[in-house]
Amino acid sequence: MRKSENFVDGLFSNNPLFVFVLGACPTLAVSSTTFGGIAIGLCTMFVLLFSSFTVSLIKNLIPYKIEITTSLIIIATYTAVVQSLLYTFYPLLYERIGIYCPLIVANVVILRRVTLFSIDNSIFASTIDALGNGMGFILALFLLSSIRELLGCGRWFDIQLIDEDYISSLFVLAPGSLITLGLLVALFKSVKKA
């Protein structure tokens, strides 16, 4: 498919979070604040971008059988890079994300895109694909975390909009994230059909 189509695809119709519910693990836990959600989204996109790039760069050196393992090691490296940089330059943001930053390596979005796409395609195509998927992921996270932060503690980007006393904190905790994501996926499905 053409590269621009691929980009838009990753953004909307094949949105990694809403359509495939990939990478739900580390992200559900952090999306309780919009800042955290966007932070994880950006970090994940960073890792996705560089991993896609690297893997498609050396794809001809990797024997078929160990594609997954090699990709995972590369992803782990970039995750460690992101973790170091985030901790150094935005330590308060890093504290908010906690252990879910190193867990980006377990985010299936990255592994899937890398092993399905980057391993077979040119560097340029892989980069575009990574960008599209990454942005789709960030957008999805932005939506999810905005809803959760707003309904869960009345804030948005840390600005108090509704007084905390009027809100149930269900959305900020584990169940809220699962239910919200479920509803959003269902919503997305029906929007796609239309």
Binding site: T33, P63, Y64, L92, E164, V172
Partner: protein
């Protein structure tokens, strides 16, 4: 289409070793460049909070003195006026009994033991519940405010434990831990230092810190 190399243990092993070595190299390089900044991190955060917590000092200790009482300990940064007389202290106190983890609080006390302000410099409490310790105890609502009260004249515990402070609704554990840190700060400050006895001894030779507007606070990012 270039043919991919055939799989063999030797091939795979070689590839793994090479990739791992390159990774270690990359990570080592990054670590080398960020290591200095990382070491200074806590200091920057604390200094920026000092003004928050104690608005009107002229000088403050650059390095804290640590005082112990049993298993607890506090860091004390004494504050001074322009004549280098001690007018109070900024205390960093920790509670290990937060709902999720440790709570670190910075509190400003003057000579009389009034709480000037506080700032929670680190916590992992739940947003919307325990995380409200950041502002709850400054609120003007009845029985919540600890700012401006005299620490030795008020019982700084929760109402349902015989004290005078209202806990956060639904976050008793976090509230209790927070108050513990504040109470502890005052108790150890009172028992082990002379800050609170109105004495103005100058036997300390702590180096003064430049006033905040000269600190490079612009490099601080985050909240």
């Amino acid at each position: 289409m270039i043919k991919k190399p055939r799989f063999s243990i030797l091939n795979a092993g070689f590839l793994f070793v090479v990739i791992t070595l390159i990774s270690v190299l990359i990570l080592g390089v990054i670590h080398h460049f960020t290591k200095d900044i990382i070491e200074q991190l806590p200091t920057y955060e604390k200094y920026a909070s000092f003004r928050d917590v104690y608005p009107s000092f002229h000088y403050v200790d650059s390095f804290p003195k640590v005082f112990h009482e049993g298993k607890e300990s506090i860091d004390v940064y004494k504050t001074y006026d322009e004549k280098h007389e001690c007018i109070g202290a900024i205390v960093c106190s920790t509670s290990h009994n937060g709902y999720v983890g440790e709570i670190d609080v910075l509190i400003g006390f003057n000579n009389q033991g009034d709480i000037l302000n506080y700032r929670v410099i680190s916590h992992k409490e739940t947003i919307g519940l325990g995380a409200r310790i950041v502002n709850w105890f400054k609120s003007k609502e009845h029985n919540r405010n600890i700012i401006g009260i005299r620490a030795n004249e008020t019982n700084l515990s929760l109402v349902n434990e015989g004290g005078e402070i209202d806990a956060i609704t639904g976050a008793t554990v976090s509230s209790r831990a927070f108050l513990f840190a504040v109470r502890n700060a005052f108790l150890i400050l009172d028992k082990h230092t002379d800050v609170l006895s109105h004495s103005k001894t100058l036997d300390t030779l702590e180096l003064p810190v430049e006033k905040t507007d000269e600190l490079k606070v612009s490099t601080l990012k985050g909240e």
